[in-house]
Symmetry: C2
Subunit: 334 residues, 2 copies
């Protein structure tokens, strides 16, 4: 049932090199067969890299334009219709591929997905869900910036969609859902939070109530629902803090005679925090699986995004989300 | 000119023990003379601890009630008028002390400060400013939860107040101010952010424009302005992540033969992140210096809060804030 995955060859700070490297890794390690991958981008740049990495059997869909990482998303997807992102989206919409993977301009991927693919039935706003490391394994934070004007209903949909994603991709049969707040007691938080709280209590999910910032990394719940603005900020704070602690550690260890095995131990500790291990961030709520990677994505990260896209296709995530949302709206009517 | 500092002897997870320890440290290290400190709380518990720590010359103001750390703030300050927080606030309002230091219930301190002390002239909403470690030294994030319904004007006042605080307590003569957003480009963010951006551009501060989550720890600006909800969440995320990384490091090092000097190096690296070094969080905008400490405050942390309170008094922070806000309102009229 799994069909081809379109891959943005031009997306990310190290594209197209790292993307082709990721494709080569995915094939070599049996993550995906070559014939199920479709590279979208500048053919003249992609072909030599495929030869260099000895990759055979991967189709290339030519797209001459590139949307830069810092380009304004809305303008770019209108003016650059021959960009890898827009061409890939159209390929998915036309059935040439069933999913899309990109480490490119996040805003452009979100805008193009919503515009070209459209939303799943019952979804008001797509949301970006980011798998984050916690003490009890990965959890999903949704939304991290697809939508900055959040209504209670959007956040209800986020909770439902991320629950289904945790089932499909993180192997959590009964994912617990938390609502990010500034305290755990009833009555805490602003009006939006109170309204979402009421909706989540009535929703067909495993709602665990309010969680606070420190509960995310403690792994208290499998899904953490928050506004896009808040989610975006905490993700970047976490990234900045991890890098800062890494540099403090490096400085502390540099004061002592080098011990390679210790440097390696530190490296292993930090690997648990590495976004590259987590398969990118799914844009949930659009009509095909879309995985968005960090701009700095390595080949390893691209491979894990391909894995996540396949897993999402395998579980028929879109159908599960639509079914669950239909159940909510039936219950609301009855 | 510095006058007495009232100290909440009953506030914090380890009170009153750690509080008296902090007072003893402050006196021993010359941070403050005994006669400028006023302990507020249960006299029968405080006196033996003063004897135990060989502290002399510190006055005690008896307050039999305690507001628990997780108690609802608004209800507690109404029903517990003999609590250390309310009694201390009244002592400040009556001129028996000039500043207040507490590691107790944050909501109760904020509510009691606003109600009993009142606001500085020109301030719409007090805000909690938290000094955070960055690559370029401490920066201040405001607000972290005193106010969860932020209007543009509140955030303008936060920017002005935290600038003055950075001057007074962090020794930054020309503090740069950033507005936390989900991108750096003009037009990014929601409507509130856009309105605040316009106000800050016109304000008599060193406004450096938008900053993102990762810029906080990079030390891009000395002051970071955000909504209370957002600030509260990022502070707790940062705390949770640092603890998580600490445990990952511990696990990684445990796999190797113990090397005490390396464990010490790691400890030193993490010390840069220790809230206890930063003198607590000032509640800015109320009519006397109020420093709020982490619930887990150690004696060392209490000592640094006393230091920050003295520094704030020394610089006559309240007068500077009122003057700066008056300038803004004069300019708005003319």
């Amino acid at each position: 049932v799994i069909r081809r995955i379109a891959i943005d060859a031009m997306g990310g700070d190290h594209a197209p090199g790292c993307v082709i490297e990721g494709v080569a890794l995915a094939i070599a390690r049996g993550v995906a067969p070559a014939e199920e991958l479709l590279l979208v981008g500048r053919e003249e740049e992609i072909r030599p890299l495929l030869v260099q990495h000895k990759v055979q059997g991967v189709d290339v869909l030519h797209a001459p334009d590139i949307i830069a990482m810092d380009e304004s998303a809305a303008a770019a997807i209108r003016s650059k219709r021959a960009s890898s992102i827009v061409v890939a989206m159209k390929a998915v919409a036309a059935g040439q591929a069933a999913a899309f993977v990109s480490a490119g301009n996040t805003g452009a991927v979100v805008a193009a997905s919503t515009l070209v693919l459209g939303r799943l039935k019952g979804v008001s706003r797509p949301g970006i869900a980011v798998p984050v490391p916690t003490r009890t394994g990965p959890a999903v934070v949704i939304d991290v910036g697809a939508n900055i004007y959040c209504k209670p209903e959007h956040m209800l949909h986020y909770a439902v969609m991320a629950s289904e994603y945790a089932r499909a991709a993180l192997d959590r049969p009964e994912p617990r859902v938390g609502l990010l707040n500034i305290g755990e007691e009833e009555g805490k938080g602003n009006e939006l939070i109170q309204q979402v709280h009421a909706l989540l209590q009535a929703a067909p999910i495993h709602y665990a109530g309010f969680v606070e910032g420190q509960d995310i990394m403690a792994g208290k719940t499998d899904v953490v629902v928050c506004e896009g603005f808040v989610g975006n900020v905490i993700l970047k704070v976490a990234e900045g803090l991890a890098a800062f602690i890494g540099s403090l550690m490096k400085g502390a260890l540099a004061k002592h005679p080098p011990r390679p095995e210790l440097a390696q131990a530190v490296g292993e500790a930090f690997q648990a925090l590495d976004y590259a291990e987590y398969g990118g961030a799914p844009l949930l709520g659009v009509s095909a699986p879309v995985l968005i990677g960090h701009g700095r994505s390595s080949g390893h990260a691209i491979m894990n995004m391909i894995r996540a896209a396949r897993s999402t296709l395998q579980h028929d995530l879109g159908a599960h989300i639509e079914e669950r949302l239909a159940r909510i709206s039936r219950e609301a009517i009855s």
